[in-house]
Amino acid sequence: MALLRGVPNIEKKVFLAALLFAGAQLALIGYAAWKLGVSVPTCVTNVKPFASGALITVGPGRYEAHVVAKMWQFEPDTITVPKGSIVDFYVTSADVAHGFYIDRTNVNLMALPFVVNYAQARFTEPGKYPVLCHEYCGVGHNGMAATVEVTP
């Protein structure tokens, strides 16, 4: 290691400690992503960009929500499903960049034009879940919201 000639020992130890720290955190992230299945959005190829929103029943307790975000509303703006449902959210935008955030869930997506984003949520508690746009999308951004209603 001629290149590192002269590096004092304590500096080497600090370097190793820092690598261990980063490694430990990466291990935890990997555990969450691949063992617990908490993942991030990836390329969606099974659903093509769509122009209108819809809630589709695919089976008992299984739904597919196609959400179009546009200045300054979501379509559909109310999604009603029974308690215990698993919902696949497919989100796209009709104009500029929007956000799609469902309160009290891990659904937190960017909606962009001509591409589709995806996240899944399971609703175990009945009630109203506020949905809001969290990306600046123009003067009406402040009030761009929707609701997921989970019936008992």
Partner: protein
């Protein structure tokens, strides 16, 4: 070594002009927290729209102030440490380009024709002058950097046996990072956005533009940070009364940033469509490697401070902290740097949370984000800029700080303010409050069906913090203006130089002697990390988006 006399006017303008603009940037920071907590329930305040002001706040504070300061500080550092070798003509050209650029971009912002925020995400379209102005500022900063290169090469030739002074290594690293990362932004603006904003091209590939923006956008934060790192490594130990513990770590940290600054930008896009999760994961891994230079810095600076404190008579495991010059009127610069470090501990830790891949779903685009980055860019970066600006301006004019007690109060007041601000926004963000939103019009208006009383207290706490931050800046301008009105002493003017720390461990390690291998490694890392995702996005051939303005859901007719 002294600073070139011919550079005085350039450096003074580069510091004072953006400070004047910053007064508006900060003013609108205060206005924003009042909007957000529901005290102002309107689209605008004093004729300035919320998003117009937010655009000015971001562009002035995060782009203009930081870029001008980096060039000014680099001029001082390079001139002082490398035998007065800055090319004066190029330094003037840089100043003129940056100033013209700033004014060109400011005009459409103040006319309300570019309320696109400092991230200018398409398909929002700003007035073309906005893009032209941003390009001129960036090109000006390149020229400012190029003004140092011939002198640096001459210095290396004349002193083959010496290590490049650490402060110069810091500023060259800052601008090598900048030079590399502004290329994708230049492509985004010049090839994608500018022709499209002029109506010459019908559509813009939004996914590609966003990827190029964050390719630039994350190294941008290191461009903000590295001048302050330069102060931490070369000025702070001297102010503390000691030496820099490890010269090697200083060099290593600056050079590793050349490699790791850019290939990590996808961590801003974890929640976006059309980017494969495996590239996101790769960027998450590379991002977490930043822990290595961060912990090396934490170790080196803590050791340097302890060395200084023990020389001052400090004892005990922790009691030596009391022997640092926290309230020394002669060394009022110390708390600007020290409190910046204290703030940065929390900025760094919350940054780790954001970068932690799927955990990002909890915080992405919530108020947590501005709470986090105000602990970085409005922590160490801003305090470093305030402190060093005061030192350099007064030094180059041969004036003394006329109100040292008030000057000492600024960093403590700011720290109190930014911690209060961020505590409020961390809390509301974790409870779902969005960033970049005029909450007073909806979520924090009791008359609105969207009313969220659970965010109210936290946003009010944030507003109190924001007002304290504004107050700290008022005190700062009081110190600056009072000092500027004081008498000028030519002897002080001629003897002015930045404090330069000696090193405690001063080994000459071959691995950190040259920039070149680190630059090559940086380019390779970028090719590996960004090559495949960019190819994927380009190949996908997404339809181009027409242009929109923020005030209408209809696309602009061509």
């Amino acid at each position: 070594m002294r600073i070139q006399k011919e550079l005085r006017a350039v450096v003074l303008t580069e510091i004072l002009f953006p400070l004047v603009l910053m007064s508006f940037g900060v003013f609108h920071g205060v206005v924003q927290v009042l909007h957000r907590c529901g005290l102002i329930r309107d689209d605008d305040f004093m004729g300035i729209g919320y998003f117009q002001g937010l655009t000015a706040h971001g562009v002035i504070n995060a782009i203009v102030l930081t870029t001008f300061f980096a060039v000014a500080f680099g001029n001082v550092v390079v001139s002082q440490t490398l035998d007065q070798n800055v090319s004066v003509g190029a330094a003037w050209a840089a100043l003129i380009l940056m100033t013209v650029g700033t004014l060109t971009a400011a005009l459409p912002i103040f006319l309300g024709r570019a309320s696109v925020l400092y991230t200018f995400y398409p398909p929002f379209r700003a007035h073309p002058a906005f893009y032209v102005g941003v390009v001129l500022v960036v090109v000006g900063s390149w020229v400012g950097f190029w003004a140092w290169i011939p002198g640096y090469l001459r210095w290396r030739k004349a002193h083959p046996e010496r290590k490049t002074p650490l402060a110069a290594v810091g500023m060259f690293s800052t601008f090598i990072v900048w030079q590399l990362c502004t290329l994708p932004a230049a492509y985004e603006i010049l090839v994608q956005l500018l022709p499209w904003s002029l109506g010459w091209t019908p559509g813009v590939n939004v996914v590609l533009a966003r990827m190029l923006f964050w390719f630039f956008g994350h190294p941008l934060v290191y461009f903000w940070l590295l001048p302050t790192y330069t102060m931490y490594y070369t000025i702070l130990p001297k102010l503390a009364g000691g030496k820099l513990y490890s010269d090697f770590y200083g060099r290593f940290v600056f050079m590793i940033f050349i490699v790791l600054s850019s290939p990590i930008g996808l961590h801003h896009q974890f929640m976006e469509p059309a980017i494969s999760s495996s590239y996101k994961a790769l960027h998450a891994v590379l991002t977490l490697l930043i822990a290595v230079p961060s912990l090396a810095t934490a170790f080196t600076l803590a050791a340097s401070l302890e060395h200084g404190a023990r020389r001052n008579g400090g004892r005990g495991l922790f009691a030596w902290w009391g022997k640092l010059p926290h309230f020394d009127e002669e060394r009022w610069l110390f708390p600007y740097l020290f409190m910046g470090l204290v703030i940065f501990i929390f900025g760094g830790l919350t940054g780790l949370i954001n970068a932690s891949y799927s955990m990002n779903a909890v915080v992405h685009n919530t108020a947590w984000l501005p709470a986090h980055f105000h602990l970085t860019v409005a922590g160490p970066v801003f305090l470093g800029i305030l402190g060093a600006s005061l030192l350099i301006v007064l030094g180059l004019l041969g004036k003394k700080c006329a109100a040292p007690k008030a000057a000492l109060a600024v960093p403590y007041l700011w720290t109190l303010g930014v911690f209060t601000f961020s505590s409020g926004l961390f809390y509301s963000g974790l409870h779902g409050a969005p960033r970049r939103t005029n909450l007073g019009l909806s979520y924090l208006d009791p008359a609105s069906p969207l009313y969220r009383p659970d965010w109210l207290t936290a946003e009010r706490v944030g507003a109190v913090g924001g007002c304290i931050m504004g107050l700290a800046v008022v005190v700062y301008f009081y110190v600056l203006i009072r000092s500027l009105m004081g008498p000028s002493d030519p002897r002080l003017q001629d003897s002015f130089a930045l404090p330069e720390s000696e090193a405690y461990h001063d080994e000459d390690v071959p691995a950190v002697r040259n920039f070149l291998p680190w630059v090559v490694a940086g380019v390779l890392a970028v090719v590996i990390a960004y090559g495949p995702p960019i190819v994927q996005v380009v190949k996908a051939g997404y339809e181009g988006s027409p242009a929109f303005t923020p005030d209408s859901p209809a696309a602009i007719e061509r």
